[in-house]
Structure formats: C-alpha cells, structure tokens
C-alpha cells in the first residue's frame, strides 16, 4: 500500500512489572480499513489497543499517528486525536448516570459569567437518543445510574458514545459481548459503515469466523506477539483458525513504507 498508514506501530514492547505483555509488535493500520484483531485470552490484543488509545505507555518502541511520532501517551491525547474506543472492561462509572457517563471528559457546557455549567438538557436528550439505537430500553432514563443497567445496555452506552464522537479511528474491544443476535448484527453493520465512511476500525474478537466476514485484514496475536497479518482476500477463516490452533506463524513481509 502506498498511502501512509494512519497508525503505525513499530517494534513495540510493553512490560507490566516483569511480565512481558507485548513483544516486538509492529503493525500498520490504514484509514478506511476494518482490521480484525484476533487471538486467545491473554494474547495481548487488548493491551495493544490500550497503547493506541493512550492508557498504557509502551516500554519500548514507537507509535506514529498520521506520520507523526507519538511522544506522550494519555487517553485525553488519543481522544483529542480522534481515537474513540469501546473498551471491554473499563469506560463506564457505575455511580454516574447514563448522560454523565456519555459525556464524561468532554461535557457540554453553558457558560454563565464565564463559568462552565453542565448543559443538562443537551446531555440527556442527545445521549438517550443515540443510545436507544443500540438497544437501550424506552423506560430507562438518561438520568438513571449505569449501575442499574444490564450487560447489553451498558454495552449500548459505550457503543453509542463511540458512534457519537467518532472521528478518525474507532477501536472496538469485543463489542458484541452481552448483545442479542439482532444487536450483534447491528454492531457489525455499524463497523462496516464506519469503515466505509473512511474511518479506521479496529475490531477485537475471539471469533475469527465472524470477523473474517467483516474485515479487510486480520491480525492475529499470541502470547504478546503478532503471529499473523493477512488480508482476508488472501486467506480463509479456516486457514487462520489453524494458525491460531497450531500456534504457528504467518506474517507477511512488511517492510517500512
């Protein structure tokens, strides 16, 4: 590919204490591409995207966004760059209402004498309208605490939020967890739509068959290493599953562009 990758990860290493979570990982992510990031539990998928969205600074290696080297890692900076993430285990504060969670960190304000006050009307109206598209029941109000929601509804808050604030990159970590069959299809369609709008979509899942149907490219991780990186045109889901099962390797030669 001749275009410059939107996100370029080069020789990334990450240690949690003595634990080597990411081992010399290099991947290119292009705008307008839907990439399936696949692997077993503990393979390093979530860790890798948590570097991209600023939660974990890498121990070694480099990340380039839009050709510029990322010097500082913080979720705020990633969000400001246009990276929106549907996290798997974090992202919602149980003690806050849906509306407050929806806008956490980017609260709309009305200024009175220059003092920023929360724009409650907008927070309520917009958040419930967006989230209802993804399975929030009619009888749940935007003022209800997230604690009271079911797993699927919690997921709908995260998905709705990512869609509302989508900008250049949407990362989805197991987005269909807790969702009904219908909602799953909806989310998968959404992932494709976002890609077609020119966004980079990184879709993390265990399910190679599901993501093979959606993705342009599949990256497989295992034990913190990238073990496969192939376009879905060039290899079948079955073949990729064999790679995972056998703990093998299938890495296309990727020279730096």
């Amino acid at each position: 590919m001749t275009q410059q990758p939107l996100i370029q990860v080069k020789n990334l290493d990450l240690y949690f204490g003595a634990f080597h979570a990411l081992k010399n990982v290099s991947v290119d992510f292009n705008a307008g591409e839907l990439i399936g990031l696949v692997g077993d539990n503990g393979a390093g998928k979530t860790t890798l995207i948590r570097v991209l969205c600023g939660i974990h600074p890498p121990t070694k290696g480099e990340v380039f966004f839009d050709g510029k080297k990322v010097e500082k890692f913080h979720p705020k900076l990633a969000i400001d760059q246009g990276i929106e993430t549907i996290q798997q285990s974090v992202g919602l504060c149980d003690n806050l209402s849906i509306a407050r969670n929806f806008y956490l960190g980017r609260e709309p304000v009305k200024r009175i004498l220059g003092i920023p006050f929360l724009d409650f009307a907008k927070m309520r109206e917009k958040s419930s309208r967006v989230i209802r598209q993804f399975g929030l029941r009619e009888n749940v109000s935007a003022d209800d605490e997230v604690e009271r929601l079911s797993g699927g509804e919690r997921q709908s808050v995260k998905i709705g939020r990512a869609v509302e604030f989508k900008n250049r990159v949407v990362i989805m970590d197991e987005p269909t967890n807790h969702l009904s069959v219908r909602e799953r299809e909806h989310v998968n369609e959404l992932a494709v739509q976002l890609k077609e709008q020119g966004l980079l979509v990184i879709y993390i899942t265990h399910d190679i068959f599901q993501v093979h149907k959606l993705a342009d490219r599949i990256v497989i991780m295992e034990n913190g290493e990238k073990v496969a990186d192939a376009s879905t045109d060039s290899i079948s889901a079955e073949a990729l599953e064999d790679v995972i099962r056998q703990g093998g390797r299938l890495v296309e030669k990727q020279e730096a562009v």
Binding site: G54, H74, P75, C93, L96, L104, G105, R106, F117, L118
Partner: protein
C-alpha cells in the same frame, strides 16, 4: 405500605440515615436536658462548632468523593488557626485569613502531590502529614499559646472572620453556608464535579475517557486543605486564641461526619448535606454532654459509641431499603 414506599428514596439518598439519627437525638436531647440544650444560646453554640467542623467535613467529603481520604485535616486546621492568629494581630485579619487559606492549600497540595506521585494509599500519606504538621504547629508555638488582645477584637474584618455574631449566629456559619452552596454547584452542575465523582467511581474508567485522574485528586486535596485551614482561621477568630494543639482529633470527627452523612469511603458517592448533618449531630452530642454536666473526658468515648451505633443503624436501614 407507606414504609415500603420510602425504600426507593432511602436507596437514592444515602444521607437519610443521618437525618433520622439527627431527628431522634434532637428529640432525646431536648426532652432530657430541661431546656439547657434546646435554647437559642446553646443552639448558637452548636452552630458555631458545626460551622468549623462542617467546613472541614465538606473538604473531607470532596476527597472521599475521589476514593481517597485526608486524615491530616486536624493538623491543617491547627496550622490555619496559627497562621491566622499570628498575622491577624501583626497585619490585618483579612490578610491573615488569606494567608491561612494559602497555608491550607499548600498542605493540601503536598498531600495530593505525595498521593498521586507515589501511588501510596492516602490513608498512610495523610497519617504521616497529620503528624508532620501537628509537629510543626507544636514546634512553632513552642508549647505556648497566643491570643488577640481584647483591644484589637473589633472592626468588621474581625467580626466577619468568626469574631462576631450575625442574626444570632457566629459569622462562621455563614461561611459554611456559602462554601456549601459553591461546592454543591461545582459537584453537581460543573464538569469538574462530574469528573471528580467519576474518578471515585472508577479511576480506570475515568482515565480511559481522558480524565486527568491525578489532577482531579490533587485539586480535591487542595480544596480540602483550604477548607480545613479556613475553618481553623474562623475558630481562631472566634476564640481570639490559638495554640499548637488546635484541631487535634477533629479529623476523626470530620471523617465520622462524612461517613455517617452517607459518603461512601470507597469513593464516587458523597452527600455534602449529609456531611453537614453529620457535623451538626456530632456537635450536638458534644454540647449535650456539656450542658448535662457529663465530664468532657467522656466525650470521645461516648462519641465513639454513638458513631458505632449510628453506623450500624444506618447499615440496617440501608439493607432494609435494598430488600424487595
């Protein structure tokens, strides 16, 4: 049943417990003290104690909201009182109160900086600073106390900073009301409050949404230190006197006020009005013991018993409200 209709309200409002306890105690105190407790003069005294303890409790509640704790506030209170009294005579009461606020903010900053930088539990850090600043207060005063001469106890600045009464209440009470009004707006209606409670609810989730968790915690400690030191300044203004032991053990009362008032120590859920009610209840107990002639050395013991009883009662109420 009317009682079960109250369940959702109790679930939603963690401060209900302290209001019930307060109501029960008021009835008991008023009916058993032969008018010595429930009279205007004594209520005024209770309000004055509530004002300074309440200011401290509001600050502690803010820190608890982030999931941390500040137990150094008793010493911060003492440092504020000393700073205020030392400068009120030499310079001017307003300048002195501002200086006390700066001292408190600085102590809060030290606490917050240590907690966020070292990632050490705030309980241990502020236990340390509790001793450090108490030590400084004692060393600075060299065991002596100092006071504002009677001749200097006048002027509107002296009056406003705890030295006088307005509408029958010490001016400190009006500072408490003002601080409460500002904090409740900040907490409920401003982005900072949203982020503060988010940090207490789940620091990881708040972080993942781009909230600068450490900055929020640091700000909370600064607010807490500021309020504690200002409370100390008002207390010094009221008494016209300060020594190195001012505010000793007050941190325990402030934390008790918050917890009884429905602030969850794990963070994320606090009630400022509950914390104030907690401060009022504790001050009332103290006053009751005084007016009924119980020797003051029993205060801490009785306070402890009531705190344990109240905490148990509150928990039972909560469990009852959670049941279908």
């Amino acid at each position: 049943m009317a009682l079960s209709a109250a369940k959702p309200v109790i679930r939603r409002h963690t401060e209900i417990g302290i209001f019930l306890i307060g109501a029960i105690l008021i009835v008991i105190f008023a009916s058993t003290s032969e008018g010595r407790w429930a009279n205007l003069y004594n209520i005024g005294t209770i309000m004055q104690v509530t004002a300074t303890l309440g200011l401290m409790s509001l600050g502690v509640a803010i820190v608890i909201g982030t999931g941390e704790i500040d137990i150094s506030v008793g010493s911060t209170f003492g440092m504020g009182a000393l700073a205020h009294l030392w400068l009120a005579v030499r310079v001017d009461p307003v300048f002195a109160a501002l200086a006390a606020i700066v001292v408190g903010a600085a102590i809060g900053y030290v606490n917050g900086w240590l907690v966020t930088r070292t990632k050490t539990p705030s309980l241990i850090i502020t236990l340390g600073t509790l001793m450090i600043f108490r030590g400084i207060a004692i060393a600075l005063t060299d065991g002596f106390s100092f006071s504002i001469p009677y001749a200097a106890r006048n002027g509107w600045t002296y009056f406003l900073l705890g030295g006088g009464d307005l509408l029958g209440f010490n001016t400190a009470l009006f500072w408490l009301i003002a601080a409460f009004a500002v904090l409740i707006v900040v907490l409920k209606a401003m982005p900072f409050g949203n982020r503060l409670l988010a940090v207490g609810g789940s620091a990881d989730s708040a972080h993942s949404r781009g909230v600068r968790v450490d900055r929020i915690k640091l700000s909370a400690f600064v607010i807490c230190g500021t309020l504690a030191a200002f409370a100390g300044a008002l207390e010094a203004g009221k008494l016209g006197f300060a020594d190195g032991s001012m505010g000793r053990l007050m941190e325990l009362q402030a934390i008790a006020s918050c917890v009884l008032g429905g602030c969850l120590l794990a963070g994320g859920r606090i009630s400022l009005i509950g914390a104030l009610m907690g401060a009022f209840v504790l001050s009332s107990i103290q006053s009751y013991l005084v007016v009924t002639g119980v020797q003051p050395q029993w205060f801490i013991l009785i306070l402890g018993l009531i705190v344990v009883g109240a905490a148990y009662g509150d928990k039972s109420l909560r469990n009852w409200a959670i049941r279908k």
